[in-house]
């Protein structure tokens, strides 16, 4: 017994021991690439000879002169901004409708979750089929109401819009799910008090629902922003960044520079800009969340 106690782990040792594998693995697989990336971003590799040379901040300076980079940044900004705003508004509307009690409400709730459960790659190909030019459902529907068919994801003017539409279809359910859960966690007392005071529906929403929904709103926006800023799968499959770079997002451009043109230094430097962008945005939201005491025990 005494022997066993001497070898038994104390809580003090155990807590580090249990954390160790996670921390080591995450260090190796996130900090190592980061360090590697810093080194790579400061170098340029001659594709023909494979020789590396130090260019300092040369890659970063080139980025600012690169029309294609600005184009990709602009596309990412439009995709993120338009997508997330529309998803938020629609998600909020559906959450408000489906908090009320009525027949078959739960059936609708379940059905509306379907899109976000699909693999993104599958969503991409379904909409490619739906957008098909001569035989697609989308153009057939337009023809029914007398509108001339569009090129959708294949037309330079409509491509980005078509991709955003797919994102809205796929991810409005996510906003809906998180906001609905947030609404359900609000206690009923304030609403009863508001009823007694004769508050209108809008006053209830403005002064009770919305303030108490803040944590859910922050989480929904944070996770959607992170996902849209990095958008790759759907764009890669549906348009490959085309036509004429109309849908080239940051992730896609980095991929092309790194894995098609093998300019690893330049690709890494650009991916850094994306990393800084996402870090600034996510830190803003996470500090707000900490202030709201979400994510704490």
């Amino acid at each position: 017994m005494a022997l066993r106690q001497r070898f038994a782990l104390t809580d003090e040792t155990l807590k580090y021991l249990l954390l160790a594998p996670t921390i080591v693995l995450l260090l190796v697989l996130t900090i190592y690439p980061l360090v590697f990336a810093v080194a790579a971003a400061l170098q340029t590799v001659n594709v023909r000879t494979g020789a590396r040379s130090f260019v300092g901040l040369g890659n970063f300076i080139n980025i600012f002169r690169d029309q294609l980079f600005w184009n990709a940044l602009k596309n990412t900004a439009i995709y993120t901004g338009a997508g997330v705003i529309v998803e938020f508004v629609l998600g909020m509307a559906f959450a408000l409708i489906l908090t009320e009690k009525f027949l078959a409400r739960n059936v609708f709730r379940t059905i509306f979750l379907t899109p976000m459960m699909l693999p993104p790659i599958v969503v991409a190909i379904v909409f490619k089929i739906i957008y098909m030019q001569q035989y697609g459902v989308s153009n057939w529907l337009l023809a029914l109401v007398g509108i001339k068919g569009m090129l959708w994801e294949a037309g330079p003017a409509t491509a980005l819009f078509s991709l955003i539409l797919v994102d809205i279809w796929e991810w409005t359910p996510f906003m809906f799910l998180i906001l609905l859960a947030g609404m359900q966690s609000i206690p009923t007392d304030p609403y009863e008090a508001a009823k007694v005071d004769g508050a209108t529906w809008f006053q209830e929403f403005r002064h009770i629902t919305f303030p108490l929904l803040t944590p859910a709103v922050l989480i929904a926006l944070l996770l959607r922003l992170m996902d849209t800023l990095r958008i790759f799968d759907q764009v890669f499959v549906m348009t490959g960044g085309g036509p004429a770079n109309a849908t080239e997002t940051l992730s896609l451009y980095v991929y092309q520079v790194g894995f098609r043109f093998f300019n690893v230094g330049y690709a890494t430097a650009m991916s850094f800009i994306l990393l800084i962008l996402t870090t600034v945005i996510s830190n803003f939201f996470i500090s707000r969340l900490q202030a709201e005491e979400v994510f704490t025990q």
Partner: protein, 273 residues
Amino acid sequence: MTWKVVRYIVLLVSAVIVVFPVIWVVSTSIKNDVDIFAIPPILVPQHPTDSRYVDLWTYGLLAYLLNSMIVAISTAAVAILIGTLAAYSLARFRLPGKWSGRVSFWILSTRMFPPIVTVIPLFQLMRFLGLVNTRLGLVIAYTAFNIPFVVWMMRGFFVEVPKDLEEVAMVDGCSRMRAFRSISLPLVVPGIAATAIFTIILSWQEFLFALILTQTSASATLPILVSSQVTQYQILWGQMGAAGAITMVPVLIFAFSVQRYLVRGMSFGAIKG
């Protein structure tokens, strides 16, 4: 019209918009070319055919399916094992100073990394280790990006197990590990199952790492099969639909089986739902 009627109309129209693409991909996968290019488009194929699935099978479907299954299940097993231990530590013990919070948020922040940032260095590392084009390479990559998720999910589940339960057992002479195994662990089994299913789904549908870390059917997963039906010269609509359906159906079944935990899973355990 009253609000009640309008509400049902809005909901019904939305439901059709939501469900239609899911049905359409299955419908396309059993259409022959005449039906695929029919105007007006037809929902129920006039000449249903299994030829798309047969074509995929001869293309090597089985290899992709096996790769996806092996990678997803291995990833879930390893990530759950490692992540659950860390989650238990973060839920039960306090690190000195503010380090508990810092470590938790550092773990979470690694999940905020855009994958394109890590994929280039990771590719170089895997090439150096000879793990490009292997399932092991994918499992390692997927484990890394699933662990933050597992830690946050499981931490939430452990926090819900009252500390007292373990402490009573320890007063009775249990060691901490024994108390963990025989008291806390059994109580979080539903949580582990849900987290494992989420992890399997995430690995099953992952595309970017799969695209870069695999080149042949030695390790290529189903999303690669789906995207490879869009070739340089033409799009194989029927096969694409079939590959999509095969990728989609297990995910849908899994996702609806953890619907109870969906809010938690989608919000990293931040909202209990």
